[in-house]
Amino acid sequence: MTALHQLSAHELLARQDAAEVTAREIVDDHLARIAATDSDVGAFLRVTADQARAHADDIDRRRAAGEPVGALAGVPLALKDILATRGVPTTCASRMLEGYEPPYDATVVELLREADAVVVGKTNLDEFAMGSSCENSAFWPTRNPWDLSRVPGGSSGGSAAAVAAQHAPLGIGTDTGGSIRQPATLTGTVGVKPTYGRVSRFGLIAFASSLDQVGPFARSVPDAALLLSAIARPDPRDSTSIRKPLDDPQAQLDVGAAGLRVGVVREFMEGEGLDPQVREACQQAVDRLTDLGAEVVDVSLPHAPYGLPAYYLINPSEASSNLARYDGVRYGLRVDGPTTEAMMAATRDAGFGAEVKRRIMIGTFALSAGYFDAYYAQAQRVRTLIARDFEAAFAGCDVLVGPTAPTTAFPLGDKTDDPLAMYLNDVYAVPASLAGTPALSLPVGTDAGGLPIGLQLMGPLLGEATLLRAARALEVDLGLDLTPRGAQAVGATG
């Protein structure tokens, strides 16, 4: 018999509609799954079991009374611990914010509650979302449900692992330069970075403000589309929020790939350091798109190879500015000192981990007098050229494709001593972040070791619906089983 935690969000909704199961039963089953397996995975920094059960009971009561319930009623959801939740610790996986309870909810959290998604816990991440392996968490590393000796990717590794391990069918992540797409690839999940501004950043703890975007994880494209629909809303509290509503992705989801013009990004497929098995799986997926009736063409993003260098100036510069707020005054850690300045410097040295300090240092340097123009301003001009590359490519294509990440999941500890090697994980994810365009990662196969491989699909600004349609066509055609399996997988012995 299929356990409730194996079902999709759509199936859980349908079964509740048919009165075959209650929200409380669904939530209890997922909490039991978490209790049984999360000691191995470490996806959750905090499981909010009591709140989740109370919310589920309230949903069941309303259903029974004929009162309205939300579009995600009774569906468990894993929330990245970078979104402010009123009265619930919100740490960014940092000692700096250990024990911090925000006095307000992020807009995304309000929308999730309105939709009656049941938050079962807050998930681990690289500290302040800086990293690609979830090993930069100040608390513990999260492990990949497909192979517990490997990383789940990052920074949203906790949400990705929670969805892959069937702790919840839905997860919320944030993507600044690949932090949803890269862990989606490494955990065999679907991860969507929407257009910049599509989802409100209010209450999202800021990292690099011109890049940060919230988005969904799921085990299927329709579930990801469902969650995106629930959180993509204009928000007066975020001045970068897009006012144009999202085209209903569900409406177009099953139209198929026929007639789509798909551009294969040459610079990604021929990229240095691309694992041949990843290239092969992506090429096979592209061939399937041709068979499904898409017109596949070769496309160039000539400035894309400069994306990662530009990103590692822009991102740390914005981060160094944003993280100036952690000064031991208004919230979070304080280490005492004789003066305010000494207190601030001691607090920041004790509260931040190595990668956070590294980014603050790079950013402060890149913004400092004498270096600003050669570093930060030049990176912003390169950013313009990358955005123009995308614009030119989308003049002739509906969707662009390439690998999401250069490799499959790597062993814990493999890249922790080499920051630059870690950064290279996001070499294919960063260009779309810089351009602000939507992109997603779809599982399209596994390598010889059974580890998942993801194809990245990129769309034009506001083009989420077409992107999801193309991904859905491919997903149906491939028909992959995305349950972690193998000797090293979560629950392998049970």
């Binding site: 970068t240 208004r330 000192g337 004789p338 603050i360 240092m361 313009t384």
Partner: protein, 118 residues
């Protein structure tokens, strides 16, 4: 690019990070490597290319000027490490500067906008 220990300490001071000697030594190497990589942006011809600060359309976002409820003072102060009389409490800001290490006036590396960069 090579970074001197003095440069790393200067940047750490600007960023209000009281780094240990070990951290300074590690960052000298790591920051130099990362900056060497990032310097590739200098290979791109960008004459007449405007900088892109943001993917959002540059336009003013206006709303009606209507009062809305904000955080109550006690809610805003609740997460603070120290508060007193409805205010955030911090250690002394001015006064005995010898306790804070080198005073700004004595430190040529202090200002972020001046010419005293080491």
């Amino acid at each position: 690019m090579a970074l001197s220990e003095q440069q790393v300490r200067h940047v750490a001071r600007l960023a209000r990070l009281a780094l240990s000697d070990e951290e300074v030594a590690a960052f000298r190497t790591q920051l130099a490597e990362i900056l060497d990589y990032a310097e590739q942006v200098g290979e791109v011809a960008t004459q007449d290319v405007p900088p892109m600060t943001h993917p959002a359309r540059p336009a003013n976002v206006l709303r009606d000027d209507e009062p809305v409820d904000g955080l109550a003072p006690d809610e805003a102060l609740a997460p603070a490490p120290a508060a007193e009389d409805g205010r955030f409490r911090v250690p002394r800001i001015v006064g005995d500067e010898s306790a804070a290490g080198p005073a700004p006036a004595d430190d040529g590396a202090w200002t972020s906008t001046g010419e005293e960069r080491p």
